[in-house]
């Protein structure tokens, strides 16, 4: 029931509005504008069409959509765009969101269910938004005796580290946030943070089940880290570089490495499942044994952040699989060289190579993600001793077999510089 106070006066209402506007203006003038000028003084402004993009010019250009194109064109060449938008966080988060929805529907179809249905008119596509709102609205409960700084920092670190992996992934030629020469090593180095975060968080929760879960996560990730790295080693041997873009280019020059290193690809797939704590390797979160493992004490958005991080990680590892074994963005051209748009000419923004690469990269990544979702429907959870045995004894041996195959291919003159199969 809407109600208003008994002593309501319209004049007072208008007066209060004016009072509000007055204070807003005061604060903007005295604090806002000086801040803007200080920032503008230190930030180098980009030149657009030979002119420096001052705020005045920006505002005049933003009014007319056709004149906005150069600004966007310039923005697409900046690092900020790479980090925040395309191969970086937004793209990864978007794929993560689609993954969550697809996983739920896909699993539901497998289990003869319907899945999300009500949120959003069509097949419950807004379920994720509903879940996100619910998580944000929930109270965050910090257990008594918890180590608070670590407890708060760990979920944020989890997302940050997952995003750091994404920064190294090239999604199209030239589209990579950090194009480092030792890209592959950097990926594995960053992935090494995850068990640490799990252990820190579980220790900070001051609870028994998270502690067991954290120890399990540590055991599991260390056991699978070594076959994980070794399985990528045969790819490095075949391509002769650690740079991820270089690995893709060498596959474009010859063939996809999955044909030469199928065992490594298999080991990489298994290890990434273990790294992601997905069924059948979800021991650190095994709910019938240790409640929710190291996530037991998470609540509200802390849980949401960790879930977001783990789905971004899923994207990152699937993308890494595509880059290492499935030829990255290589694929037949489907986009035309030139496009014409009726009202606004967006031709300067249009890059057929990048569009093509993005299409194929996204499609392949999604295929791999689906493959990673599949075991959840068909497999029970594995036991920790079998898991460790698999990691230490079986997968490492398998990777070595493929490393020897790779060496034979190189020294036999089939691949490598000047090899038979190199175009």
């Amino acid at each position: 029931m809407a109600s208003y106070p008994q002593n309501f006066r319209f004049g007072e209402f208008v007066g209060s509005l004016l009072w509000l506007i007055f204070w807003v203006l005061i604060i903007v003038t005295l604090v806002g504008l000086p801040l803007v000028f200080i920032v503008l003084y230190y930030v180098p402004l980009p030149p657009i069409n030979g002119e420096v993009l001052t705020p005045f010019l920006f505002l005049t250009m933003a009014v007319d959509p056709s004149r906005t194109i150069p600004i966007i064109e310039h923005f697409m060449t900046t690092d900020l765009f790479r980090v925040a938008a395309f191969p970086g966080f937004t793209y990864a988060a978007l794929i993560a969101a689609v993954t969550i929805f697809v996983e739920r529907k896909f699993l539901a179809k497998m289990q003869l269910r319907i899945g999300p249905l009500y949120a959003g008119k069509i097949e419950g596509i807004f379920q994720l938004i509903a879940d996100g709102l619910k998580l944000i609205a929930k109270e965050i409960i910090v257990p008594s005796g918890a180590d608070k700084p670590i407890f708060w920092a760990a979920p944020i670190a989890f997302v940050a580290v997952a995003a750091a992996v994404v920064a190294l992934i090239p999604a199209a030629p030239g589209y990579v946030a950090a194009d480092v020469d030792v890209g592959l090593l950097a990926v594995f180095a960053i992935l090494g943070f995850f068990p640490l975060i799990a252990l820190l968080f579980s220790w900070a929760s001051n609870s028994k089940y998270p502690f067991i879960g954290g120890l399990r996560a540590l055991h599991q990730m260390i056991a699978f880290e070594i076959p994980f790295i070794l399985s990528a080693l045969s790819v490095v041997l075949l391509s002769g570089t650690l740079n991820l873009t270089g690995i893709v280019n060498s596959q474009i020059q010859s063939y996809w490495f999955i044909f030469f290193a199928p065992i490594s690809a298999f080991v990489f797939y298994i290890s990434s499942l273990a790294e992601l704590e997905r069924i059948p390797f979800d021991l650190p979160e095994a709910e019938s044994e240790i409640v929710a493992g190291w996530l037991t004490e998470t609540s509200g958005m802390i849980y949401g952040l960790i879930q977001l991080g783990s789905y971004i990680k899923t994207y990152a590892l699937a993308a890494l699989f595509v880059i290492l074994f499935l030829g990255g963005w290589a694929g037949p051209d489907v986009f035309p060289q030139e496009i014409e748009t009726p009202i606004i000419n967006i031709a300067p923004l249009y890059d057929p190579v990048a569009a093509n690469a993005t299409l194929w990269f996204t499609l392949k990544t999604f295929g791999v993600i689906m493959l990673m979702l599949l075991p959840r429907g068909i497999s029970p959870r594995i036991r920790i001793d079998i898991l460790l045995h698999t990691g230490w004894y079986k997968l490492i041996v398998l990777t070595f077999i493929n490393i020897f195959i790779a060496l034979a291919l190189i020294y036999g003159g089939i691949l490598g510089p000047g090899g038979l199969l190199v175009r």
Partner: protein, 386 residues
Amino acid sequence: MTSLEDKVEESRKLGLQIVKESEEDRLMTLSVGPQHPGSGHFRFIIKLDGDYIVYCDPDPGYVHRGEEKMCEYRNVIQNIPHLERPVIHDSNNVTYSYSLAIEELVGIEVPRRGQFIRAIASELNRQVYTLYWLAIYGIFLGHSTMFMWPTGDRELFIDLLEALTGARVTHAFNIPGGVRNDMPDGFKDRCIRQVRYFEKRLKEYEDIFYNNPLFRQRTEQVGVLSKEDAAKLGVTGSVVRASGIPYDIRKAEPYDIYNEIDFKVQYMKSGDSYARSYVPFLDMKESCHIIEDLLDKMPESGEVRAKLQPNPKGPPGEAYRRVESGRGALGYYVVSDGTPKPYRVKISVGSFRNILALPYLLVGQKLADMPAIYWSLNYWPVEADR
């Protein structure tokens, strides 16, 4: 290899006596339940040495409702609706042996058609229970598809029972003297159709769950209960049959028309968690045959219940009758003092007998085997607490 008693004695010492501080530091005490996704309304306190369980103490009673005391305040018919509460998924079997005991005390003969309908309802209900049990076993091992499929297929039998009795889970269908009402028209064809479909589904269960290498790895040779120990501990139902003792009340002491039905007692010899989870599955298969056989041999018409006096009472005396429920032998010991209210009712339930084996099986196993062993014991916490 230490004997079973030694192992448990050792664990008792560890748990109950004061141990040295350095040893105590090694151990971590976990209270599994009642707020644990892998326990149900039940708690067991375990102590861990590393990843190994060295001590286990079951502590049921969270859903104790004093059914036995309640029985003493109501007459024999009024007792039926609350007696099925302990296992609402298996309510026909719970009231079955109670009805048998009361019939023995009061001296009633159940009409032949009534006996058949009783048996059909109890077999259908056993399927409902076993599917629910299997679903939880699936999710306990992290197999979510095996949770969804049986809970979905359970509807087949729930629908049948709804058509038969009018309620989906708490039927109150068996009463002393027969069953409450006759079969609806067309029930027989519908029942046969759904049971045949279910038999096809069972093959898929086997493919996705029982033949899954990961599932076999987790359950085979885990929590082995030998034949001798099973007999000594007095476990019952699928647990004792998995240990190589082909003991089924339906065969051992056939009640009503079970001696006319042709079926085999399903049992396995290995006694591990796999056998304990596979025997209920075999029972479900056999149950399908039993239902078809019962529908075949059922007389086309006739009375379904014997008429009772209001407030039926028999002479003073006592009776102990058992049936085979989803969790094993379910016995009612009823003492009557000649009044309409029973003087004493004791329910000997399979769950309560099976849980005795839990400390014996858990000690020395890994923590990850806990759900695989615990739920394979076919334990229903509410039933054990009564």
